[in-house]
Symmetry: C2
Subunit: 361 residues, 2 copies
């Protein structure tokens, strides 16, 4: 279902966290209103939205009223229940659509989809029981990573199986859920491409970004990434092909491993995120258009914005009590503070981020 929005229209957003909040903040200068649908009281996005529905994702009455009140629906997280997405899509345009959600919610489906496009991934195999796990380990070797097919994020729902580790214990550790075993990729660095696609096939990618994780959570992104021009071009082309094959509408991220084989850099796709992405936060101050504005433009059926960079950019997450440094950030010339309006700074919780723009080397 297609619809081109006009100023004054309303974007419905499922989820009330920082990504929804930053989408809402980007929608306003474009003349669009935001309506947030989230179950949690005090959701950060509620603070900046024109309208709010606090309800469960399976509350069909609330979903129906929400669908009637908005002109398009998008979401900030890939684990939108399939039923919720299907119900909404019956009433109002849903971007990104059910196909993108279905594939990216399942690691096995996702890896299969990517490799069928002829794009390299880690070797992988389906695991439904101990016997399949043993067979997969024999094929893929150790170390390998066992991951639940669904509902994993920030390192949750996965376990590394090394030489000597008990496979059955590893399967138990992830709750014996349907899983995927992935070969361990000896990568140099992690990179990502954040890109946008419109319903009529226009595409624009931000520059490939280099990402540093700590404790499985993104710690820092830097642009430009230290990659060869060939890798930069290939990464963008991979994103374009994935977007095309998904019939994708909106902003998405492709997380990749940078590998070096015989001195030559290459990339292996790790994961697709069907949403704005932490590794694209640098675009808020460092890009000509932010990923959030780009997402709004894409789902509105509007022209995509310019993706140029304003300098060398570094984005650092503020995790847990790191957000206590807010005053020091405000004192630092050229640093831009982004706090998410969360009341409680729990360990591991993303409380905000800082972007720093430097003159090009």
């Amino acid at each position: 279902m297609n619809r081109i929005l006009k100023p004054g229209d309303t974007i419905g957003i499922l989820g009330g966290g920082q990504l929804a909040r930053m989408i809402a903040l980007a929608a306003a200068p474009l003349g669009l209103k935001a309506h947030i649908f989230a179950p949690e009281a005090g959701s950060p996005a509620f603070q900046v939205a024109d309208a709010v529905t606090q309800a469960a994702y399976d509350d069909h009455a609330a979903l129906e009223a929400f669908a009637k009140a908005v002109d398009v629906v998008t979401y900030e997280f890939e684990n939108v229940p399939v039923d919720t997405a299907a119900f909404l899509a019956g009433h109002v345009p849903l971007h990104p659509g059910a196909r993108a959600l279905g594939i990216t919610q399942d690691r096995l489906e996702e890896k299969t989809f990517v490799s069928r496009l002829g794009i390299e991934t880690a070797p992988f195999a389906e695991v439904n029981d101990e016997a399949e796990l043993e067979a997969a380990l024999a094929e893929i070797g150790r170390p390998a990573v066992l991951k639940t097919r669904r509902f994993g994020y920030d390192g949750k729902g996965q376990v590394i199986i090394r030489e000597g580790d008990d496979a059955a214990a590893a399967f138990a550790a992830i709750g014996r859920h349907p899983a995927i075993l992935e070969g361990f990729v000896p990568f140099e660095r992690e990179v990502s491409v954040v890109a946008a696609r419109t319903e009529d096939g226009r595409f624009a990618a931000f520059e490939v970004t280099e990402n540093e994780h700590r404790h499985h959570i993104l710690y820092r992104s830097t642009v430009p990434a230290d990659v060869s021009p060939a890798v930069a071009a290939v990464s963008a082309e991979i994103a374009r092909r994935i977007g095309e094959a998904l019939g994708y509408v909106g902003v998405f991220a492709v997380e990749m491993f940078l590998v070096v084989v015989e001195g030559t850099q290459g990339v292996i796709v790790n994961e697709i995120a069907p949403r704005v992405h932490n590794s694209g936060h640098w675009t808020l101050d460092g890009g000509e258009t932010s990923q959030f504005e780009q997402h709004v433009r894409a789902i509105a059926g509007w022209p995509l914005g310019a993706t140029e960079r304003r300098g060398r950019v570094e984005m650092t997450n503020l995790i847990g009590d790191e957000a206590d440094s807010w005053h020091a950030v405000l004192e630092e010339p050229g640093a831009h503070l982004h706090l998410y309006g969360k009341a409680e700074a729990r360990p591991g919780r993303k409380m905000g981020h800082v972007t720093r723009i430097f003159a090009e080397d």
Copy 2:
């Protein structure tokens, strides 16, 4: 009354128009909530605020509840009723304060204040009746501008008196309100300085901006202005001294006429606006810190942000149906659209603006 805010605190804003809206949008990334107090249903700022009070400015019960719900109060327009300001200031810090409001609400007080600082203004005289007007005209000469002392903006409440014009008719035209007669300044251009001051006396000015008006409404601002380095320095110094003398807290604008006497540029102060200002909108994309973020930092008692410019910047207002060009603006690389969420595009109504950033010449 001083209070240093912390993330999670709430800024109360009187007025629900585009300036309040852009202050609220700037407060969010700093972790602050916005509570808008405005009488008009459907106020643009309501769309992006955490909380809203729709009530009259003389509704003391509503004002008291508002004051209790917020940590500081600011405003988007200088015509805040004195009673409203005084009532709020008795409950919660009000920035800018009563002194700045009192002086800037009255053109005669304002001109007197500025000229007592030894800063040049147009020649002016108090006018309360026809006899005073005739005396003032005899002293100042024609052409001259007769303005109501209070409640004028965008060219409203003023009339030019030229050779042969009937003085009594001019006085009648402005409703025989207490007035000020100002000498006509043969200016080359109009410029302004937007600056911020904190309660403890820190000060930061954005670069002097050149402003082009059409039909008494700002049409375009450009930075850098075509002024001499001496004028640039003097303009910032004028703003600093005015801020200091007012004990000002927050962002304010000083509108000035650029005059050329015997080949040398000079400035004459025309008006002080005790608020964020249309001629500072270019800072939203063109400045390292926007005037809106700067205002929030100042009233929060926080460090002021960097005032560097990101290139040559042009800000163009979208007045009335000019906002219909929104789609063309979105198609233009490097143009940034800012719509104000107003439902109806009446003639002369500020509907939005566009900033364009160009590489430095």
